[in-house]
């Protein structure tokens, strides 16, 4: 008996050893093509599918630069902070990427620690770059300036707008609201939508996040939850590339917590009223995956979204005329929020010149139209944005996407200082308590938020 067991045991061990040897290339990852070979490595936030979709971009780039091998690494994450942590891991592992995609959330984090300024490159190739800047709104560029230097070239952006279900509006007996509608109008629309809706219909559904969460409501009230200043510098850039504009300084600075100012209290009170009247959902954290479904089936009347959503709704089978888009309503002002994305060059990269060629190609007319052949994000080049959404793939008022920048020149990026991750959690974790505990709960909630924001900004 014991002998049989021992024989079986030895056989198992032998099989295991053979199996291990056979699968050794997989265990050591030697079977990944291109691994260990030197190439311009580009890290992007997304899944492998997103990486595959970039193949056309790589092909286009290599037609121009056949001597520069390119490898794309897709990095997954629940949110931008996880993406940044992963980039850090790559640096720690000794395999840092040369180029990274960075959105507004991470611009200052990367700029302050890991990214290489583009100033010299932009000035060197000024003649070539002028055509790009002529096509791009300065507000987008401004969001990528940090302490006087330029760190990224916008490749996509999304302004926070209000998407609405056209039949919910019709059912409520209402016309499309004016562009300069007010919060009172918004309440009116929401109430009428609610009374004409059925079952669990919700006039306004939103997620508690930095983009499209509470921030648009603060911006339209000419306030924020952090102080906002402009860094000095940047004249070199503005004078050269936007000579007709007043120089806008060297980029945004968000250095102090400011959640307790009167306008902020007012904005949060509006949200508190919306939720307590049953006009708006209790904001779920994250939960993005139910939103398309809810909106596409008419369970939701209005929701914050941007140009990226057109593709999502198309995939869910929503007809172009089933929904439309407008601006957030005005309070004391009507400033809007956007987030932008673009490539940055890593400071540790030894292929900075090649990396710059990649950046330039991606924002060129050819590169940007290859990269964004679907309406999955608004484009910083107005010409291409018009071409993309003007082709009849989106809502009737697709002009809103870019006009958010043009018609409202104060429109700005979401606040994202270098301590973005800590700041974001300090904001988000206090939103629910602030608006869910009655009118009297707003100020105490904001006091906690202020405390947490102060701690977050003090962090390194």
């Amino acid at each position: 008996m014991a002998d049989i067991t021992r024989r079986a045991m030895l056989a198992t061990l032998g099989l295991g050893a053979i199996g291990t040897v056979v699968s050794w290339p997989r265990l050591t990852a030697q079977d990944i093509p291109g691994r260990g070979k030197s190439a311009l490595t580009i890290a992007l936030f997304g899944t492998e599918q997103d990486a595959q979709q970039r193949q056309g971009l790589i092909d286009g780039f290599q037609r121009k630069h056949p001597d520069i091998p390119v490898r794309i690494v897709a990095i997954q994450g629940q949110d931008w902070s996880e993406y940044f942590a992963k980039i850090l891991t790559m640096i720690a592992a000794g395999t840092p990427p040369d180029v990274v995609t960075v959105a507004t959330e991470g611009t200052q984090l990367f700029a302050s620690r890991m990214a290489h300024p583009l100033d010299d490159f932009v000035q060197r190739d000024a003649a070539e770059m002028q055509e790009y800047f002529d096509d791009v709104h300065p507000s987008l560029i401004e969001s990528f300036l940090y302490k006087g230097s330029l760190f990224q070239l916008p490749d996509n952006f999304n302004a926070a707008n209000v998407f609405y279900n056209t039949s919910a509006l019709q059912r409520a007996g209402l016309e499309r609201p004016n562009d300069n509608w007010t919060v009172d109008d918004f309440f009116n629309v929401a109430r009428k939508m609610k009374s004409s809706g059925q079952g669990s219909f919700l006039p306004y559904f939103w997620n508690n996040r930095l983009w499209g969460g509470v921030v648009p409501w603060l911006y339209v009230n000419k306030t924020s939850f952090l102080t906002e200043e402009k860094a000095p510098g940047g004249d070199w850039f503005w004078k050269k590339f936007y000579p007709n504009e007043t120089p806008r300084g060297g980029g945004y600075l968000w250095e102090n917590a400011d959640a307790l100012n009167d306008a902020a209290v007012e904005s949060f009170s509006v949200l508190q009223r919306l939720v307590s009247e049953g006009l708006a959902a209790n904001p779920a954290q994250g939960g993005g995956n139910e939103l398309v479904a809810l909106f596409s089936t008419g369970a939701v009347g209005m929701t914050p979204a941007g140009g990226y959503w057109v593709q999502g709704l198309k995939e869910a089978g929503v007809a172009n005329d089933a929904y439309d888009v407008t601006y957030f309503p005005a309070m004391n002002g009507q400033r809007h929020q956007f987030g932008a994305g673009g490539y940055a060059i890593m400071d540790v990269s030894e292929r900075k010149d090649e990396a710059w060629e990649w950046l330039k190609y991606c924002v060129s007319l050819e590169g940007m139209s290859i990269a964004h052949n679907k309406p999955d994000s608004s484009l910083p080049r107005k010409s291409l944005n018009d071409k993309l959404y003007g082709a009849g793939v989106g809502p009737a008022h697709w002009n809103v996407f870019y006009d958010t920048l043009i018609k409202f020149p104060t429109t700005g990026p979401m606040p994202a200082p270098p301590q973005q991750a800590a700041v974001e959690s300090a904001l988000l974790k206090n939103v629910v308590n602030t608006i869910m505990n009655g009118p009297g709960g707003v100020r105490p909630g904001l006091e906690l938020m202020q405390r947490d924001l102060e701690l977050a900004l003090k962090g390194r």
Binding site: G16, T47, E48, V73, T89, A93, G312
Partner: protein, 278 residues
Amino acid sequence: MSNIDAVKTRSSLAGLGTFGKYLVLGIAAFLTIGPVVWTLITALNPQDPVTHVTTTGFEAFVDVFEKIPVWLYVWNTALVTVLVAAGQMISAAMAGYVFARFDFRGKNALFAVILATMMVPMQVTIVPVFMLIRGMGLADTLLALIIPALPTAFGTFLMRQYFMGLPVELGEAAEIDGAGPWKTFFSIYLPLSAPGLAIVGILAFNYHWNEFFRPLIMTISEQNFTLPLGLVSLQGKLGSGSVSTVLAGVIISMIPALLVFVFGQKPLREGLTAGAGK
């Protein structure tokens, strides 16, 4: 009900007691299986529970295979899980045997240190471990997930308990017959410890099959991802994936663990029955 040989002291309330017992167990079983059955129904249901959009039932499953390289991830996860489970069974059997049967200086202190490593959250040590892995040239490989997981404090503890439960006399008899310590272990105790080893193996399999945190930190290339990471990519960037697809992915990832559970249940239970509490 097999009440034939029921103990005589039972009162007439026994019927009600039996009914209550089955009621409680039935509710408990409903609560443990229910959510998973719901998941399966939702993933298969042609009508989405949230949106009431009608699709063909298997669309969500097809979608999973389209969105992520399921087979590659299954293979990666299987490699990691099987090698870790095998390694843990070997290392725990050996170390547990020594702690159960031999005396040497510093034994208790060493055992205490081994147990203490269980009390340090992995999130605390992951960065230094990562640095070690990088030093070994194994960054972003499956071996980075396997090698640090081969020794097991909990498995060593379990096997020590198990060997302590086996009679000392067996070994003594073997040695009187002239068997050396190696032979005593390999031909007497190791075969007897199979149920204990089964627990270590099954627990290791279960844990590492479902493991999320270490792969998240340790792997970079998507070719090295394990199944739980693949599930996250089904949720899409910023959580925009479809509910049914995510749930279908959950079901697919569950199948191998379910198989191990079905076939491993008996040894697991026997092992715990024989080894527990000694």
